[in-house]
Structure formats: C-alpha cells, structure tokens
C-alpha cells in the first residue's frame, strides 16, 4: 500500500500563495554540487543543460542538494543498457523553474545485479518511473513501495527492454510473424537464434 500525500480531509487552499522557484544559476549549481560531492564530474553541455556524473551511493546526496537549490521538477529517469560495458546507466533529469535549466544526474550500476536505492523519498514522481524501469529492465529499487506488475501482463521471459531480448524473433515464435524482406532489417537481430529468447 502506497501512502497518499494528498490530504483530502484538510481541503486545499489554492490561494495559499505563489510558488517561488529557486533562482540559482546553472553554472553555480554545478560548482556547488562539485563541492558537495567530491569526485562528481560536472559539465555544461549547452545553454540550459548541465550534467553531473556520480557514483550510485552519492546519487541521493546530489538529488537532495539539487532539490534544495530549486531543481524541484523531477522530469524523468532514463535507464540505458550498455551490454558491452556490462553496465546500466541511470539518468535523472531535474528541471528548475527559476533557473530555467535542466541538470542530468548520470550514474552507472552493475548490469548483472542491477540495484540502486529509490529516489521516491526525495522526488515523488520517481515512483512510477522506477516501477516502469523495474519491469522493463529488471532493475531493483530497494525502498520503492510499488514495484508491482505495471504494463506487461502474463509476461514470462527476460525484461523486454534489455538489449539481449530480441523482439523480432520473439514475434516470429509467438505470433507467427513472417519476415518479408530480411535484407532491410538490422543484421544483428537475424543472427541470433530464437530459442534463447523465447
């Protein structure tokens, strides 16, 4: 059971006052993060886009620090599978309404035992994103109260968004798909046999 944060009994006071966003500069925010977490690589990609690279155990510290600086809009968390390098990359995108800039917090986790602490206590929207990544990539988020069945139903087999899952061969096997023109397809999809992905 997930805790609700909206208290209907109290009733909302919509005219409670204006929302005041933080107005720190993007560059300054990155410098402060560099001081807060030694070893964090920071860079400005272009106007309004900053990047922070940290280790997984420092992730919470950085997210908390950025939230205090006004980066309070949790845009998304992206998971990227890098099978050759045996890692999974998680990218947290945070936007500040005052700074008008986005900071991407990148962190790498091990691909064989993918697990990283949840970001839900800091950013509530992460609850749904982590739920999806848990289902699609098989990443575990200890602390997330809602890692339940989400989009897929009756799914047997590996997490489908991982690179080693072959959707094409799976369709051939399960739905009787006929490939019409194999030459136009990515060759690496046709090489693999269907048996290990079924």
């Amino acid at each position: 059971m997930v805790e609700d944060t909206l208290d209907h009994t109290k009733g909302m006071d919509p005219l409670k006052g204006e929302y005041k966003p933080g107005t720190i500069k993007l560059e300054e925010a990155l410098v402060r993060i560099g001081k807060l977490v030694p070893g964090a690589e920071t860079a400005v990609r272009r106007a309004r886009r900053g990047i922070v690279k940290v280790t997984p155990d420092m992730k919470d510290l950085v997210l908390k620090g950025l939230k205090e600086m006004g980066f309070d809009h949790f845009v998304a968390v992206t998971c990227i599978d890098w099978p050759e390098e045996k890692r999974m990359e998680l990218v947290y995108h945070l936007w500040s309404y005052g700074t008008k800039g986005i900071i991407m917090v990148e962190t790498d986790i091990d691909r064989d035992m993918p697990s990283i602490g949840t970001a839900v206590p800091i950013f509530r929207p992460a609850i749904t994103y982590e739920r999806e990544i848990h289902e699609m990539f098989g990443v575990d988020f200890p602390g997330n109260p809602r890692l339940t069945q989400f989009i897929l139903e009756d799914w047997e087999g590996p997490p489908p968004m991982r690179k080693d899952f072959n959707s094409l061969m799976y369709s051939v096997e399960r739905f009787g798909l006929k490939i019409r023109y194999p030459k136009s397809l990515p060759p690496h999809l046709l090489d693999k046999g269907g048996e290990k992905n079924g």
Partner: protein, 175 residues
C-alpha cells in the same frame, strides 16, 4: 424469418464503444457532426451485451486481446467484427513488437478488414455499407464461423495468453 431479421438488423446496428487502439481517434469524427454515423442507423453502445458490431480500432496488445475476446464472447448473436486499420491484418506498424498480436483473424473471426493507417472516415462508412450488404445477403457469418471452429480460435488464444485454461475467467490480482 431469418431474412426479415437480417434486413432489420442491417438497418439498426449498435457499435460497441471500446477504443482498442489508436484508430479510435477517427471514431469521434465519425460519430459527431461532420460525418454523422447515425445516418446509417449506427450508434455507440456502452455494453457488449447489446452491441452488434465490434470495431477493432487498430493493433491489439496481448493484454487488450484478452479483454477483446471476453467482450466478444459477451456479445449476443448475430455479431460482426470489423478490423479497422492495417495492424489488424498483419501487424501493421508494430509488426516486430513483442506486445501486439499480428493477425486478429486468428483469435476472433473478422468479417471485414479495412486497410489504412489510419483509414479515413470514408473507408469506415464504406465498410459499414458493405457490412449491411453482407448482412442482407446472409454472408456476414463470422459469429457462426466462431462457433463452428471454436477449437481453432481457442487454441490460438491459449497459445498467446499462456495462462492455463482459466485465463478467460481470471482478472489478475493487483497489489
């Protein structure tokens, strides 16, 4: 007697209001003032028990297919299925997706397929005209085909759902 019933049912059909896929976005224009489906005596119906036409609007994911089969079996005879969009014929845009079924005709009997991604309202209306013709002639016999070849359809459904024989009755328990 059958002929009279066919003649009558061809002129008053209820379309099951189930937006199964992205083709459903062409339904509001069809129902509403610009094209006005009621000229044909076709209107939307909320419950499958009183509907005559099942318009499969586009691709079906496996999760939807289960509900589609359940809704289809709840419909009263005679019932007609229109496959709306290329994805009902052979997968369409999502031909290599692990989540969508390719040929809907393997799981429920389809009376008319409409090609297009998505088909224009003109195509939908033409399909309705053709369906009315077929009903009057007694050719739209998809529901009889379903009864006669139930084993074939059921085997195909079982193959996709992988849930044991009781998949049709169970709704998964959510945590």
């Amino acid at each position: 007697m059958r002929k009279v019933a066919d003649w009558a049912s061809a002129r008053s059909m209820w379309l099951l209001w189930y937006c199964t896929g992205c083709g459903a976005v062409e339904l509001p224009p069809c129902f509403t003032s610009r094209y006005d489906m009621e000229r044909y005596g076709i209107g939307p119906m909320a419950t499958p028990r009183q509907a005559d036409i099942f318009l499969i609007t586009g691709y079906l994911s496996v999760k939807t297919l289960k509900r589609v089969v359940r809704s289809y079996e709840q419909m009263q005879d005679p019932k007609y299925v229109l496959g709306h969009g290329s994805c009902t014929i052979d997968g369409g845009m999502y031909w290599d997706s692990y989540a969508t079924v390719k040929d809907v005709g393997l799981y429920i009997p389809v009376d008319i397929y409409i090609a297009g991604c998505m088909p224009r309202p003109e195509a939908i209306f033409h399909a309705f005209e053709k369906l009315q013709d077929m009903i009057k002639k007694g050719e739209a016999a998809g529901w009889r085909r379903y009864k006669d070849n139930y084993r074939f359809y059921r085997d195909n459904q079982d193959k996709v759902f992988k849930r044991g024989p009781n998949w049709a009755l169970e709704e998964p328990v959510l945590k």
